[in-house]
């Protein structure tokens, strides 16, 4: 199958999120693809609060099987999570385990009023009761394949299907 154009999906996300924006709204992007998308959304939506970034490595549920990932990036939430309306942003939504980890991490910063979830693509296959409020597109790919978001030097986003070699 051909994957949709990431830039068009980004426009769709912007249109979906815009009506829900309030003064206490803030974006938190999940490294790495989610951060790229959150950066674009943040500018397009003209948000007052600065955007946050998180790396969920310290909250993953597969540490026992896989150990600690190399190259963990510092999480940075530069606004008060207490009473914020957070929109959590990821590139590809799949099992939901990354989102579970991100939710736990956010609550270690404080108690937000609400958290909503935005994903550029939803490939189904959820293993946890997690449901996005904003999605660019739903795609169907085989279990052994993965969908990757890439960003070129000009900042242009694109989706690539990666097959096992």
């Amino acid at each position: 199958m051909t994957l949709p154009d990431a830039e068009r999906l980004l426009d769709r996300l912007i249109d979906q999120i815009r009506p829900d924006i309030r003064p206490e709204s803030a974006l938190v992007g999940i490294h790495t693809g989610g951060v790229w998308i959150a950066q674009r959304l943040h500018i397009a939506l003209g948000l007052r609060l600065p955007m946050g970034t998180i790396d969920v490595a310290f909250y993953r549920d597969d540490y026992k099987q896989k150990g600690l990932a190399s190259a963990v990036r510092p999480s940075d939430i530069p606004f008060s999570v207490e009473n914020a309306h957070i929109i959590l942003v990821d590139d590809v939504l799949y099992t939901g385990r990354t989102i579970r980890a991100a939710l736990n991490e956010i609550f270690d910063y404080g108690r937000p009023t609400s958290i909503r979830l935005a994903a550029l693509v939803d490939r189904g296959g959820r293993q946890l009761p997690i449901c996005p409020q904003y999605i660019g597109a739903e795609v169907t790919v085989a279990a052994q394949e993965s969908v990757e978001l890439r960003r070129d030097s000009a900042g242009h986003l694109s989706l690539t299907l990666v097959r096992p070699s």
Binding site: F58, P74, S75, Y109
Partner: protein
């Protein structure tokens, strides 16, 4: 079976016993992993769930408040359960051997041992006898090694100085008895610091120290000239009773860090000390508390670095 007891068959770090023998990539992996842990310790909830349900035993056969406390805090911030065992209150005083102590604690399902011992090689011995799922971290053994101190110092240097590859670093004081100095020298050279100097009286420098690839100075002002980093060592008071040093006053005169001596280093040089400090013996208070001192940040970074080491070994 590979020759390095610290590494698993896959080349990953299973125990941290000494800096010697560790590749640069593993040192950098630890430093890189420590950075996000610094962010964790600045949050409201200074805790992550990585080692939830793990039991970590602090086995301190030698007194140490700071190192034991920072390991304990680090373990707790990883959500592990920590048990502190001090020699004075343990059954070792009743004649139990080191390995019997460890075997008993392993039977209580210990997942990790943090070991401080006056005997060089104690942590290695324990690492050779624990089960496959148990990890050992050396928190100082005799005159041999103190790897987490060296790593937190490397982290501190990188925070203040950036790259290692154009630095001049001086280590000052009692090199002979210092496990910290040995670990620092291995870490600095492995990370590519081009010029490592050791400064101290002949009686406190090991005979073959220059074989470690360091430059030896007996004159402190000469040794400090144009250095970027000054690493002071603690002068252990028991050394002053022996024949190695005439007196603390005499040592301070020649090797105590004063503003006058520090002026020979680069103007932006940083001053480090592993603690606990003997003010007026190896360092003057005005330097210890001065603008160039990074001694307290070292303590803060020490927690993040120990969190990184524990979470890397426990996952391998």
């Amino acid at each position: 079976m590979n020759g390095n007891p610290q590494l698993g068959p896959d080349g990953q770090l299973r125990h941290l016993l000494s800096i010697e023998g560790l590749p640069k990539e593993i040192l950098l992996q630890i430093l890189d992993t420590a950075r996000p842990f610094v962010s964790v310790t600045e949050r409201e909830v200074k805790k992550v769930p990585l080692l939830r349900g793990k039991s970590i035993f602090n086995l301190f056969f030698e007194p140490s408040t700071r190192t034991r406390t920072t390991f304990e805090i680090a373990a707790k911030r990883l959500s592990a359960d920590v048990v502190n065992l001090n020699i004075a209150t343990s059954s070792q005083t009743k004649g139990e051997t080191l390995l019997d102590t460890v075997a008993n604690l392993s039977a209580m399902h210990a997942d990790m041992f943090i070991v401080r011992h006056a005997q060089s090689g104690a942590a290695h011995l324990i690492a050779r006898h624990v089960g496959e799922e148990v990890h050992v971290i050396n928190a100082g053994d005799g005159r041999h090694a103190h790897p987490t101190q060296a790593l937190l110092d490397m982290f501190t240097i990188r925070e203040y100085k950036g790259a290692f590859t154009d630095l001049r670093v001086a280590i000052v004081g009692d090199i002979l008895h210092s496990r910290v100095a040995r670990s620092e020298i291995h870490a600095l050279t492995t990370l590519g610091v081009p010029e490592v100097r050791v400064i101290g009286p002949r009686t406190l420098l090991p005979a073959r120290v220059s074989q470690l690839g360091v430059h030896v100075y007996h004159d402190m002002e000469e040794g400090l000239r144009d250095v970027d980093v000054v690493m002071m060592l603690r002068l252990q008071s028991e050394r002053m009773n022996g024949a190695l040093l005439p007196s603390a006053e005499e040592f301070f005169k020649y090797y105590g860090l004063t503003p006058e001596k520090l002026a020979h280093a680069k103007p932006d040089a940083i001053v480090m000390h592993p603690g606990p400090m003997n003010r007026g013996v190896e360092i003057e208070s005005s330097v210890a508390d001065g603008r160039q001192s990074v001694i307290l940040p070292q303590v803060t970074f020490g927690i993040a670095v120990r969190m990184a080491v524990m979470s890397i070994v426990a996952g391998n």
